[in-house]
């Protein structure tokens, strides 16, 4: 769970400096905090994105959660060459692990067929319905770092200043990590709320540490006992046997003979134990 999302954002986005009309449009859009989607009647993004994004996306399943939905902007100009499309494609491929590309392909396919105001409405609706819309915002914030013109897609009624953006990013990361922990720690449910989850995690870690201590005490006791009975290498033999037994068990389990095979193996190994 390293943050290589930060690394991926340092990639340049050369295709964003397309034309001056685009810039004016984006400036207008930035003034308007509500969602927008530019018309892409000239572009056939849908043919490119399914090819490039979806397989790289699905191969890199990750809990990164950063999105790039606002990344795509579609140009009105039909004179824009195909070159930006290709660089867009490569940019997409570089920025892997973005789950929101599904939304992108959806939105781009939706865009190409409708006019501009309708598109913006559906865009807003789609953004608000996806329940991950706020991540789109945070993603744009990261992408503003390369100082290209990036479209900021804010949810309705959400602040767009840098502090709250950073806060949102942080909270998103923390939620993601808590979700991972929830899978690991038994008895942890998202419905319990974060404070309770943290309490559960604390209890679990404490119990694991206590178990480790207790078992090392058991090892000490075993070794003292064996020492006492002056079987000096009995401990190693015992440990080695246990290790072999455990490995046998695992091998059998892997081969699929869990129930009876494991038990049979145990019996056989114990009968020919050297002690």
């Amino acid at each position: 769970m390293a943050d290589f999302s930060a690394q991926s954002y340092r990639q340049p986005f050369p295709f964003l400096d397309i034309d001056p009309t685009m810039e004016s449009l984006t400036q207008f859009a930035e003034l308007n905090p509500q969602s927008f989607i530019l018309d892409n009647s000239a572009f056939n993004f849908q043919t490119f994105f399914p090819l490039s994004i979806n397989d790289s996306l699905f191969s890199n399943q990750a809990s990164q959660g950063e999105t790039m939905s606002g990344f795509i902007h579609n140009s009105n100009q039909s004179s824009v060459s195909a070159q930006p499309i290709f660089s867009a494609k490569t940019e997409m491929e570089e920025i892997s692990n973005k789950r929101k590309a599904l939304d992108i392909s959806e939105s781009s396919s939706g865009n190409s067929s409708s006019t501009s105001p309708q598109v913006s409405e559906t865009g807003i609706k789609r953004r608000n319905n996806s329940g991950r819309g706020k991540r789109a915002k945070s993603n744009e914030k990261e992408m503003e770092k390369p100082k290209e013109v990036v479209h900021v897609r804010a949810r309705r009624g959400q602040a767009t200043d840098s502090h709250s953006l950073a806060e949102r990013v942080r909270r998103g990361k923390i939620n993601e990590r808590l979700r991972c922990l929830q899978d690991i720690v038994p008895g942890c449910y998202k419905t319990m709320g974060m404070a309770l989850m943290l309490d559960e995690i604390i209890n679990y870690v404490q119990s694991l540490q206590n178990q480790v201590e207790f078992l090392s005490m058991k090892l000490t006791a075993a070794s003292t006992y064996y020492d006492f009975n002056s079987e000096s290498d009995a401990m190693e033999r015992m440990l080695r046997e246990k290790a072999e037994e455990a490995k046998e068990l695992e091998r059998l389990m892997r081969e699929g003979y869990v129930g009876i095979g494991g038990v049979a193996c145990f019996h056989s190994s114990s009968t020919y134990g050297p002690l």
Binding site: I202, V205, L208, V212, T220, F228, S232, M235, M238, A246
Partner: protein
């Protein structure tokens, strides 16, 4: 597979097991226990526990903050025991850094803006090296730490 008795020879579990076994045999070879006095037993218990922690930390090396913190703790403790002066000399910079960061954290109450400060502090005490982490990294390290603890417990060395 040419060796059916081993899982992945480079997995965390096998690394830990081999190291821990080696440490245990060393401990047993060192000191055939003469008396069964409680202090002796306790000393051996401490040694075994330290061996478990050490082999775990060495299996993870410096990839994780908690393993680095644990290794540093173990090293400073062993230096201090051997030679009080050398401990002060070598561990000084590290100690200064750790002290400074922990002081900063205790004085600036880590209000991460998410509102789980008490639980987060408790978690920080549990996970080695947790005092110097922000909440995000702390959760990360906790997950890895839990994974390593369970590896320890379920390793083939009669521990699980």
């Amino acid at each position: 597979m040419n060796n059916p008795h081993h899982l992945n020879p480079t997995s965390l579990k096998s690394r830990f097991t081999t190291r821990f076994l080696r440490a245990l045999t060393k401990i047993r070879a060192q000191k055939p226990i003469s008396s069964s006095s409680p202090t002796e037993i306790f000393r051996r218990y401490r040694r075994i526990k330290v061996a478990a922690d050490k082999s775990m930390a060495y299996s993870v090396r410096s990839r994780r903050i908690w393993s680095r913190a644990m290794l540093w703790k173990l090293r400073s403790r062993s230096y201090r025991r051997q030679d009080p002066c050398s401990g002060r000399r070598s561990g000084k910079t590290n100690q200064a850094i750790m002290k400074k960061s922990s002081n900063e954290n205790t004085t600036t109450r880590r209000e991460d803006g998410v509102g789980f400060v008490e639980e987060a502090d408790e978690l920080r005490q549990l996970v080695p090296g947790g005092e110097t982490m922000n909440l995000c990294n702390l959760l990360d390290e906790t997950a890895h730490y839990i994974k390593c603890l369970t590896t320890q417990l379920f390793s083939p060395i009669g521990k699980g």
